[in-house]
Amino acid sequence: MKHFKVNLDRKKLTSEYIESKQNFDSVLTKVNMSKPGFWKSAWFYGTIGLSGVAAIIGYNFSQSENNLNEAIITQKNSIQHAVTSTETGNEVLIAQHVKTEEVYVVPPVEKKDKQTTDKKTGSPVKTVAADTPSDVRNNASERVVLKEKVVEKMDAPKVVSRSSMPSISGVYSGDIQWENFKQGEIFVAEDLSVKQFSIQYTSRLGDRTISVEGSKIPQDVVSDLEKLGLNQTVFITNVIAKNDNGDLMRCYSMDLNLKFK
């Protein structure tokens, strides 16, 4: 069986002819054309992969830390508020700060309808108190007016002094026994009643932040903490209290170290 075709005395090519066929540029062009795109290279996939993993980890991390960060920021704001008001006495600055905060946190207060008599005409005039949060929800145009009115009222807010810090069972910071915590309620001063606060704690399902209306620690929170049964720091922030005149004030935040026996 034949494996090869045999050629006898084929015409020989000269070196000059072979040299004339040299074309390095064409070889180089073909090499450059056949290079795979950067998207096919290993480093590209490596970079994309690592970025993706980093993004996922970062997202998860930020999600878990987000609530804690919010609490810390609120605490900082409270401290800044207090420091600014006590050290500089600059009321304008305080008013601006409070304005920003109040837009979000003023708790619902019942509407007060007042019927007054116009002194000039003698006819009854019905006016609606514009400084209630229900107006904020109901009418956007009134919201602008409301914000301004709140600021006007808060131009000279009552600064909560250290002696009137919020406390639970007499503890305003540091260690607190579990029994005292779960039965207690947030107390600020005789003339102040707590209307709203936020509580941040760690449950079996992770970090939780809950906004509460009123001054008592909700039963759900107590139950969560009891189930976990671990000594932990609970942050109580965004404490809004109301005085006899109906003025709303933001109080200091608290961080309490729960002690289970």
Partner: protein, 191 residues
């Protein structure tokens, strides 16, 4: 047998070549001197085994393309750079045969035919010439390769060993055995 001066080089030449290779690794444009130096050798190696001239030039270009693309894998092992090119050429040739782009050819001239017949101690005539060509066409690929490298292209055993990645001694033994097979085939046909 004459020695291929382009293959068997002095150390300084090999070092110069190594310098070109290092530069070409950084920038393929610096491969130009190597291309110029070895283009003809590689082309002749390819064309010796092919019928179509244009196809041989194409395969030669392909060899240099592969060499440039894979230059980062090249490691100097004390043998001339061209032995690496020959190995790429061999692989590209067989790829072309497999793709049916070209037919495997054996090119031989009358002088070489006469040399074989004299080696086999037979009369140099038309009948024996035809018989030898028939015997050559029936040789196995690996034996044919050795006969081509040694007796048609007049390469040294050292060079054959480096191209086929075998030792010089092994190349010597295998070439001798390939020649013996051809002789046996030729004599059997003659009887």
């Amino acid at each position: 047998m004459s020695v291929n001066p382009l293959y068997h080089q002095t150390n300084s030449r090999m070092m110069e070549e190594l310098d070109w290779i290092q530069r070409a690794k950084a920038d393929p444009a610096h491969f130009a001197p190597l291309y110029k130096k070895y283009h003809e050798q590689i082309f002749r190696y390819v064309y010796q085994r092919m019928d179509d001239e244009e196809m041989a030039f194409d395969v030669t270009s392909q060899v240099f393309m592969k060499a440039i693309k894979n230059l980062h894998k090249y490691e100097f092992r004390g043998v001339p750079f061209v032995s690496w090119l020959y190995r790429i050429a061999k692989s590209e040739l067989y790829q072309a045969f497999r793709d049916n782009k070209a037919d495997r050819m054996v090119n031989i001239d009358t002088v070489q035919v006469t040399g074989f017949i004299e080696e086999f101690e037979h009369d140099e005539n038309e009948e024996n010439r035809e018989r030898l060509l028939l015997c050559l066409s029936k040789m196995k690929e690996e034996d044919m390769q050795l006969l081509e490298l040694r007796f048609f292209e007049k390469r040294s055993f050292k060079e054959i060993g480096e191209i086929l990645e075998i030792t010089e001694n092994n190349a010597k033994v295998k070439s001798f055995r390939a020649l013996e097979k051809l002789k046996k085939l030729f004599i059997n046909k003659n009887e």
